[in-house]
Amino acid sequence: MNAMRRAWESDLSYSFRHSPITVLAAFMVIVLFAGAILAPLIAPYSPFDPATLNLMNGFTPPMTPNTFTGETFWLGTDDQGRDMFSAILYGMRISLFVGFAAVLLALVLGVVAGLVAGYAGGWVDTIIMRIADVQLTFPSILVAMLIFGIAKGLTPPDMRDQMAIWVLIVSIGLSDWVQFARVVRGATLVERNREYVQAARLIGRSRSAIMFRHVLPNVTSPVLVIATIGLALAIIAEATLSFLGVGAPPTQPSLGTLIRIGQGYLFSGEWWILFFPAVTLLVLALSVNLLGDWLREALNPRLR
C-alpha cells in the first residue's frame, strides 16, 4: 500500500498523469499489446490454418457477412479469404515479437560493447568504436538486408520459412546495437573515473565485476529510453523488410507482409487489405515512440 502510494506520488507518475498525449499513447500500447498477446483468444479465425480459409470469401469488404457461416468480417478479407482482423492480431504478434527480440539482442550486444570500450579504453575502445562508426555510415535497413541475405543463403531451403523470423531478429538486432554502444560508452567514461569505482578497485574486485556490478547499474537509465524508441524503430524496420519481401513469409504474415499483400490491390478497389494493417502499424509505432519520448524527458534531470 505504502509502496503504491509512493509510486503514485513520484515525479515520474506526476509527469505521466499531466501529459494527456502520453496517457493516450500508453492506453493504445496496452490495448494493442493485449490484442497481440491474447490473439488466440480474441481472433475469430486462425490465419495460419489454411483449412479454415475459403477462396469464396476472398475480397469480402469490411462489415460483410461470411458467405457460409454468416459471421461478420469486421475488417473484410484478403485475396485468400483470410479474415483481416485475425490476420492483423496475429501479424502484430509477430511484429512485436520480432521487435522485442531484436531490441533485446541489440541491447545486450550494445551495452556489453559500450561497457567494455568505455571501461577498457585504449586500443579495445578504438577497435569497437571504429566498427560502430563504419556500420553507422550504412543505413541500418541496408545492413539488415545484407545480414538477412547472407543468413538466408546459409540456411537450407526447406527450413527458410521457419528460420525467417529468427533471421529477421538477428539482422535487425545486429543493425541497431551501435546506438546502445555509443550511449553506454559515453556514460561509462564518466562513471569509471568516479571514486566508487576506484574504491571497488582498491577492494581488489575484478574488471568484469566492476563493469557489471558497479558501472552497469549506473548507466541504465539512458539505455531504457533508447530501448523504448528502439522498439518502435525495430517494428518499423521489420515491417519495411517484410514489405520489401525479405522478411516474414506469407504463411506467417507480420504487419509488413500484410501491407505488402494489400498494396497490390489498392488501386483495384480493395483498399481495406492495405488500410487496416497500415493504420495498426502507424498507431503502434507512434504510441511506442511517444512513450519513449516522454520517458526521455522524464528521466533527464536537465530538462526538468
Binding site: R194, E195, Y196, Q198, A199, A200, R201, L202, I203, G204, R205, H214, P217, N218
Partner: protein
Amino acid sequence: MSFDHAQPRETLVSVSGLSVHFPIYAGLIRRQVGTVRAVDGVTFDVARGETLGLVGESGCGKSTTGRAILRLVEATSGKILMAGQDIASLGAEPLRRMRPRMQMIFQDPHASLNPRMTVGSIIAEPLTEHGTLRGRARQRRVEELLDAVGLNPDFANRYPHEFSGGQRQRIGIARALALDPDFIVCDEPIAALDVSIQAQVVNLLEELQERLGLTYLFISHDLSMVRHIADRVAVMYLGKIIELATRDALYDAPKHPYTQALLSAVPIPNPRVEATRRHIILKGDVPSPANPPSGCRFRTRCPIAEARCAAEEPAWRKLEDGRHVACHFAT
C-alpha cells in the same frame, strides 16, 4: 596524540624515488609530445601508528602520490615497500592479496559510494571479496562497523542518497575499515564537508587510530587541520617534497621558503596578532608540471632565489634537528 620521538618505531610503508609521469598526446597519430611530471622522485617513510600529513596547493601531486602508493595509478618508477614487498611491482594476484592491508578514504562522499547499492552491501563488498564471513556473521560485522563509525546499524538497508555528507563519509570510513587495514590513505577526507562536520570526522579518525592502531597518510590542503591530526608533515611543491619534519618543528620554524610562505597564509584567529603579522605573498602562478623550471622548482617564485638555484637542483638534505629539506640555503 603526539609522536613519541624517544621510541623508534617500525617503518610500515617506505616510499623511495616514486615518480608518476603522464604522457601528453597530440596530433592526428596521437604522438607523444610531452610528459606531465605529476610526481617526480618522492621519498618518505611512514612509521606504524603515526599520521603523516601531506600538504601542498592544488595540482602539486599530493593526491597522485597517495593513489600511486595504492596502485590506483601506476608509478612510472620508484619503490613502495610495505611488509617487505614492493607494491609498485606486484603482479595482479599478489596485489589483490595485499589489498586488505591498505585502504583509502576518498574526498567526495557523494561520488565515493555507489548510488545503486545499499549501505550494507557497500560495506559488505570487501568482506565478500576477501573475507571468509558469510550470511549472518557478515551481517553482524557490517553492523559492528556501522556502530564503530557512529552510525545506527539499522541504516544498512538504506541507500547513500538518504544520508548527509558527514554520514556518507562515515560510511566510506566503515568500508575502508572492513578488512582491518594497517595503512589508510586519507585523500582530503574533510575537504568536501561542512566546517561543522569536519571536526567530527577528524575526531572519529583519531579515535579509530587509537583504538585500531591505524597508520594514516593524511592528504590535505587545510594546514590547520593537518597541524591538529598529523605527527609529521611533508610539504609538496610541483611534484616534489620540499620539506619533511615533525609537526611542531615544521609549524614553529619552517625552513624552506615555500613552507614559510604557506604557513604565513594561514590566518590566526586573533585580530591583533593577525594585523601585526608579516605575510609572504608569492609572485606568479605555479609553473606547469609539463615543463618545470630547471634547478630548484620553486626558484621562479622564491623570494631568496639566486643564480645557483637555476643551475643546480637542491639536494634532499637532513638537517641537525632531524628534518629533511630541499633548499640550498636552509640551515
